[in-house]
């Protein structure tokens, strides 16, 4: 009994919950805002890059591949610190939430481009030829024939990747973005109690469990069946 009440007092302290719930909720709003902005910008930029890549201009494609590879190979936290501490010294001042948004959107764009491009490549050449022979232009073929089929294939991997990258909004705490984790660690140090951390963790689970379950559903729905 003694141990369990101490546990509750440390991790589910009602007074602390009441006092810091508004702060955590504020963090939830910030996390959702940044995540939404990252998803929209990242996926659109990724799609745009994949479309540009399908024009097969050698120099442009080489640049896209380098961008994609670099942003897939570097840890997001390295990029966050580099942009946050580096840019002010050459005269560019961005607020910390903008740095987080920019970095995560670029990382998502890199992964999304690779996924969209794999989707476009997976459409058989015959589809292109058939569409072009009906008189559709290159862009028309891409927009009406290839992309609709390609995007279907990209849904499961893109969903999983998007979830993984939006979870990285927690990295914002390192540069002082007031998202959930930041609010939770601040509240924890003020209250001297672990309850805010528990609240933050629960907030993340409530936010992300639905998308993880959705990702699992999409994966089985669109699965590549082997016999």
């Amino acid at each position: 009994m003694e141990a369990s009440s101490r546990f509750l007092d440390t991790f589910f302290n009602w007074e602390v919950i009441e006092r810091y719930l508004p702060a955590i909720m504020k963090g939830v709003v910030v996390t959702i805002e940044i995540a939404a902005a990252v998803v929209v910008a990242g996926i659109l930029l990724g799609l745009a890059l994949a479309i540009v890549r399908s024009f097969q201009v050698l120099v442009v494609n080489a640049l896209i591949v380098v961008f994609v590879d670099v942003f897939r190979a570097l840890p997001p936290l390295v990029l966050v610190l580099l942009v946050y501490f580096g840019l002010p010294n050459i005269g560019i001042n961005l607020p910390s939430f903008a740095v987080l948004w920019l970095v995560l959107a670029l990382v998502l764009a890199a992964f999304a481009e690779e996924i969209f491009w794999a989707g476009i490549l997976s459409i058989p050449k015959g589809q292109w030829e058939a569409a072009r022979s009906t008189g559709l232009s290159f862009l028309g073929t891409l927009a009406y024939i290839v992309l609709p089929q390609a995007i279907r294939l990209t849904v499961p991997p893109l969903t999983n990747r998007t979830i993984a990258i939006t979870k990285n909004t927690a990295l914002g705490t390192v540069i002082g973005v007031g998202e959930i984790l930041n609010q939770a660690t601040t509240a924890q140090s003020f209250s001297g109690n672990a309850t805010p951390l528990m609240m933050g963790a629960i907030a993340y689970v409530i936010l992300f469990i639905p998308v993880v379950v959705l990702g699992r559903f999409l994966e089985t729905r669109f699965a590549w069946r082997r016999v």
Binding site: D69, A73, V78, S122, A201, F208
Partner: protein, 221 residues
């Protein structure tokens, strides 16, 4: 232009920071050598139990996997490092990293193995069992080798993610690559050490990222 060179590609500062960053690189490699095998083994355990014939076991494990996939690894790490001491358990940075990565990485690897095992046709099980192999023998000699081959790109790709993820250990003051670079940055007021660290990550991971792209294409066609 000169400002950019001074600020990001300052060779003198990179040279000065190099020994510190090299020590950080060693630490990063040590972390990887601990957490990747831990995740591979834990993931296999998660996958096998998530295919258990007992519904309670199956559902508990799947709920656990989804839980640890939903929670950002940095949140998990900070919870273990800063939260658990309140409950009387004070892990060292390395222990905290090992626990957090074990839970997070095993969940991801568990999902990958599971997809692999499910991609092997049921006929393989039936055929293997009918030759007299036992259940666990069928699993080890017939199903797992095919399963692992089917999901090899995902296993490798997740390993890259884990190596990248080790950079969050810097938040709990584990002196790995990024921590050392950031330390050098805060002493020199110059971003070149972080550029150097980025170059090292790139040198380690770019070849693997290229390899994954090629593996994925081959499987897709």
């Amino acid at each position: 232009m000169e400002a950019i060179r001074q600020q990001f590609f300052n060779l003198a500062i990179m040279e000065q920071a190099f020994p510190l960053i090299l020590a950080g690189l060693k630490q990063t490699i040590v972390i990887c050598l601990i957490v990747i095998p831990l995740g591979l083994v834990g993931g296999l355990a998660f996958a096998l139990t998530s295919l258990s014939r007992f519904r309670t076991v199956r559902w508990t494990v799947i709920a656990g996997i989804d839980f640890f996939r939903a929670i950002p690894p940095l949140v998990l790490l900070i919870f273990i490092y800063a939260g658990l001491p309140f409950a009387g358990f004070r892990p060292s940075p390395m222990t905290a990293v090992a626990i957090a990565f074990f839970l997070n990485t095993s969940s991801y690897y568990g999902e990958i193995y599971r997809a692999g095992i499910e991609s092997v046709g049921l006929g393989q099980w039936d055929a293997a069992r009918s030759t007299g192999l036992r259940g666990y023998q069928t699993l080890t000699y017939v199903v797992l080798p095919q399963a692992v081959r089917n999901v090899l790109p995902d296993l490798v790709s997740n390993a890259v993610e884990v190596v990248k993820l080790t950079s969050i250990a810097s938040v709990v003051a584990l002196p790995e690559l990024l921590y050392s670079a950031d330390m050098a940055r805060s002493v020199t007021f110059n971003s070149s050490p972080i550029v150097l660290a980025a170059a090292i990550y790139l040198a380690m991971l770019w070849p693997v990222v290229r390899l994954i792209s090629r593996l994925e294409r081959r499987i897709a066609t």
